[in-house]
Amino acid sequence: MTGFGVELRDVSVRFGATVALGGVTAAFLPGAISGLLGRNGSGKTTLLSTIAAFRRPSGGSVRVDGEAPWENPRVLAGIALVREAGDVPDVRVGEVLRYGAAMRSTWSGEVAERLLARFDLPRRKRVEHLSRGQRGALAAVVGIASRAPLTLLDEVTLGMDAPARYACYDELLADYLAHPRTVVLASHLIEEVDRLLEHVIVLDRGRVLVADEADALRARGVRVSGEAERVDAFVGDARVLRRETLGRSAVVTLYGDLGSDARARAREKEIEMHPLPLQDLFVDLTDRPGSADRPGGAR
């Protein structure tokens, strides 16, 4: 195993009366790429900021590589928190790379230069004059070239265009495979990062909704469709995330272990059964009745 592991025990963060994190207990495995998923305001940024010691938790404990990160020089030297706006000095792009080389013992100048060229970032332009996408690309350059044992990427690709985003994922994966470390990706673009993830934590309203291996999570999400009565009989006691009906047909999204004979039973009842993409599963897991952006469908 390489990279720093993270252990969170009952971590809470409050801003006055607002509870940003309400007792998060979870772990980011060392040497894995983990996804931190959640809707806006679910507490992803607060959690990453707390792990990187940008702020203290109001309660609970954070352990990075076995130690509390707050003002811990050894641990902090191994953490890179990269946020979309980019916590880089407001100088020329080329100078940001020099800053990285001066401040990070694990910095790869070769990777930084290559990524700068790949993202077509203007070396002489000041950071404040970069577009949102370019700032995100620069943040990605810093995050990958830092080669920190714990790399936390908070929505860095959000403002980037599609080719740049895919280039970012490819470069991250290639460098991770060559130099394994712990990477936590917080992203709304689940469909795009899905292939990278080995482990997933879903936050909802400051609490852990799901924490599991990505493959296990994908296996638990199933969509079944067929004649409504048969579908309902098939579903039984399984957890229903969504139910939509069209005439006599029903489409039901399920979450959980349906048993090893589920496919055979489905065939028997003439029910179609499809694995659920991680993004759809995430949408259904975090959908709130009555919320403005709730997708259509009866529950």
């Binding site: 990187a52 916590d87 000095p89």
Partner: protein
Amino acid sequence: MSAASLGTVRALPSSTWRTARWLVGNTLGILAVVAPLMLVLGVGVAPATMAYFGVQAPASLWSFAVEQAPGVFTLVIAAMTISQLATHLAFGMTRRSYAAAVVLSVVAIALLLALLVPLGYVLEAAHFRAYGWAHEAPDSLALALLTSVLRTAVWGLAGALTAAIWYRFGGFAGVVALPLTAIYPIVSAGMWIERADALGAPEAAMLVGLIALLGVAYAAVVAGIAVRARTA
């Protein structure tokens, strides 16, 4: 963690030293523009303008510029304090090393700025002589330089402390802390430091003590700062 797996791991100097070097380097970029401008305006343009309009200049215009410059420096330091902390933490360093680096940088920059003081007096004296004006410079330029270092350091650290209080505790606390930025005028008035070369050993020791106190207070405030969220 396996260091080898992460590629080359280089040995670096302490993060305080690296950051101080970066901060001083960046400020030098600003000073490279401001310092010549100060000299040209204070020693060149201002006396020339007065001579053009037939106005007798006071004994020294430069002494006025020297006393006012630290106020501007305070603003630069205050802005730097706020903007650089998140970057420092994001690159894996501690608040402690940041605070130490800022204190070190303020003193280093105060020293560099102070080097302008004797140069300004010498140039001003020559310019005044050309107009046939009497010029008054401190008897001891070395003492003037020392006074300038201490004065600028006090101003700079007071600005940094005020900004840190504002950032950590919010706008109201920042407003309440604003009088801190006037600490040098208050203290110097109390010590009757009226001339740049009138600083005695007790006053110098007191200012050094004040610098240490401001540095410790700054480090204590920075130690608890929670970095705010940033958006693009």
